[in-house]
Each structure stands twice: as C-alpha cells, then as structure tokens.
C-alpha cells in the first residue's frame, strides 16, 4: 500500500488509472472552450491575455487537478467518518482557496471571496457527504474559509509578487490533492467500486467552470483597486 503501489495502480486499469486521463480530458475541454470563446469574442477585449491570461491559465489547471479527486471520491461513494471529513475538508478548502485567489487577483476581494466561497462550499458538500453530515459540515466550513482566505491572500499580495505566489500556492495545493488521492487509494483497498462516471462528467464540469470563471473575471464587478 505504499506510494509506489499507488503510482503503479495508475497504469493497471483500477479506478486510479482514470486520474491522469481525467486531468488530460479536463485540460483539453477547458482550453478548447477558451480557444472557441477567444476567437468568437474575447479577442476584442483589450489586453485580454496580458491581463487575464495568467489567472485564467492557473484557474483551468486548478479545475483539472480538482476534478480527478472528485471523480475518485465518487467512484467509491462511501467512506468512514475520518476519511470523509478529510475528503470534504481538502476538496472544499482547495476548491475555495485557489479560485478565490485567482479571481481575487483580477477582481478584488469581494468578488474573489464570493466566487471562492460558492465553489468551495459546493464542492465541499458534494464530496464531504460521502460520510454523512460530518463530512458535509467539514466541507461547508472549509469551502467558506478557503474562499475568503484565497481572495484575501491575493489582495494582500497584490503589490508583492502576486503571480509568483500564485504559482507556489498552486504547486502546494496540487501536492495536497495528490496526497488526498493516495489516501483514498489506501482507504479503499478491498472495497468495491460503486459508481462510474464517463468522460462527459469531466467535460461538462471543466467547460462549465471555465465559462463561469471567464465571465466573472472579465465581465464581473471589481473593486476600486482593480479598475
């Protein structure tokens, strides 16, 4: 049950083998819709890539790294309380913090917090419910806190290497998500797969999240500092 077993399991047809594929499908879907929208309308926005490119790029990467964990959790559906709370907290926190951080970097703390909290709480409830009310509450709390913290961190770093901080935060969050996948792997040995999502699930969520992010980032309200 070591980490090397987990890495090997990504290649031998178990549930874990879907993780790398999910990342790829999510990236293809998100960048695909971005390219389409860019040539339809976004190219007319002045400085679209210099202004929003960095934050949009990392938002898309964020979704591509969160969705495999969501799919992983949904495959086994039920977990013990301790594991379920950890799942709710990790996914809720990261899916609140990172989008909050990246939206906070373009629109300010209010919109960043609202966006981060909404997404964090949604994903926290969705994944935390795998162990009942405890995980659900943990997911709500983590999403709420993560959304606020992400936007706040972004605003506080606005004049101090914000983009570099964004890369560091993203790398750390990705490592935590990989750790979560490893935990799910160790907790579910001997258990049966209970649910199978097809690729449409990943495509739908990637496209939806990317479109919402673009709309909020480009057309959403922004605080005085960002006008």
């Amino acid at each position: 049950m070591s980490f090397s077993h987990f890495i090997k399991s990504m290649g031998n047809g178990e549930v874990e083998s879907e993780l790398p594929k999910t990342i790829l499908v999510s990236l293809l879907s998100s960048f695909g819709i971005l390219i389409i929208l860019y040539f339809i309308s976004l190219k007319n926005i002045t400085d679209f890539i210099p202004k929003y490119g960095f934050f949009l790029f990392f938002s898309i990467l964020t979704y591509a790294f969160i969705l495999p964990s969501v799919r992983h959790v949904r495959a086994y559906k039920e977990f013990q309380c301790m594991s379920g709370m950890m799942i709710g907290m990790t996914i809720g926190m990261i899916s609140g913090f990172l989008p909050g951080f990246f939206i906070g970097g373009t629109n300010g703390m209010f919109v960043g917090s609202l966006f981060g909290m909404s997404l964090g709480i949604l994903f926290g409830i969705w994944n935390g419910k795998c162990c009942g009310i405890m995980g659900t509450l943990e997911g709500i709390m983590a999403g709420f806190m993560g959304g606020l913290m992400g936007a706040m961190t972004s605003l506080m770093m606005f004049n101090d290497n914000l983009k570099f901080a964004g890369i560091v935060v993203f790398v750390v969050s990705s490592a935590i998500l990989l750790g979560l996948n490893y935990m799910i792997y160790t907790e579910t040995r001997g258990g049966e797969r209970k649910h199978k999502d097809d690729e449409f699930f990943v495509i739908f969520w990637s496209v939806l999240l990317t479109i919402i992010t673009i709309l909020v980032m480009v057309f959403g309200p922004r605080s005085a500092l960002f006008q």
Partner: protein, 126 residues
C-alpha cells in the same frame, strides 16, 4: 502503464503549449514623455486621511516632472506603506517627513494604494 505515460506526456505538452500563449505578453500603456525639467524642481503632494482612506484620493500631476509624495501625521497603520504599481513605487513612509519620489513618464490615470490595497486613490498624470 503505457497509456498512463501517454496521458501524462500529453498533459504536460498541453500545459506547456497553453502556458506559452497565456503567460506571455505585457499590458500596453500609452507613454508620452514631454518637456525637459529643470534640475531640483519637483511637484510636492501631501496626502492625509479621511474616512479611513487617503485624502485627497485623486491627485493630478504633470508628466515628466519629478513628484514627491508625503503622508501627513493623520495617516496611520498599513496606509503608511505607500505604493504606485505602475511607477514601481513602494515605500514605508515612517514619518511625515519621509517621502517617495518618482518621475511620471506616462500620461493617464494610475491607482495608488497602501501595500494591502485597503486605502486607494487615483494619480492623474497630465
């Protein structure tokens, strides 16, 4: 394992290609430098505090002429850490005698703020 390696390889390639296009470029700004400046001449601006924000929070200065900004004794806390991103200004002005000096070499409106963005204002360069 071969399939997984292929997925990972394609993922990396996709990230690199997308990153190349999306992380490149810098914002365009109109830049108009005008008039020669006599040595030692500068525009003095003193900013105070009102309603928990800088006051006045709209300052008009001339392009190409050095500007000195002071914060009077009413400005407290993090608002004493004064920044103007577009001109690379970032300094903690500990006392009312401390100042930041820079030469605005481009015309337009620019935000000034404390380092945390809690107090903000507009610098208009004409």
């Amino acid at each position: 394992m071969k399939k997984t390696t292929l997925y990972l390889f394609m993922t990396m390639a996709l990230i690199l290609i997308a990153g190349f296009f999306m992380l490149n470029g810098s914002e365009t700004k109109t830049s108009n430098v005008d008039s020669t400046i006599q040595k030692g001449e500068f525009q003095k601006v003193v900013i105070g505090l009102k309603n928990y924000n800088y006051y006045p929070n709209t300052i008009t200065v001339q392009s190409g002429k050095p500007v000195r900004i002071y914060l009077d004794s009413s400005v407290v806390g993090c608002l004493r850490s004064f920044t103007i991103r577009d001109f690379g200004v970032a300094k903690y002005l500990k006392t009312p005698n401390d100042y930041v000096e820079f030469t605005p070499n481009k015309k337009g409106s620019f935000r000034f703020a404390c380092s945390m963005g809690m107090g903000t204002g507009t610098l208009v360069v004409e």
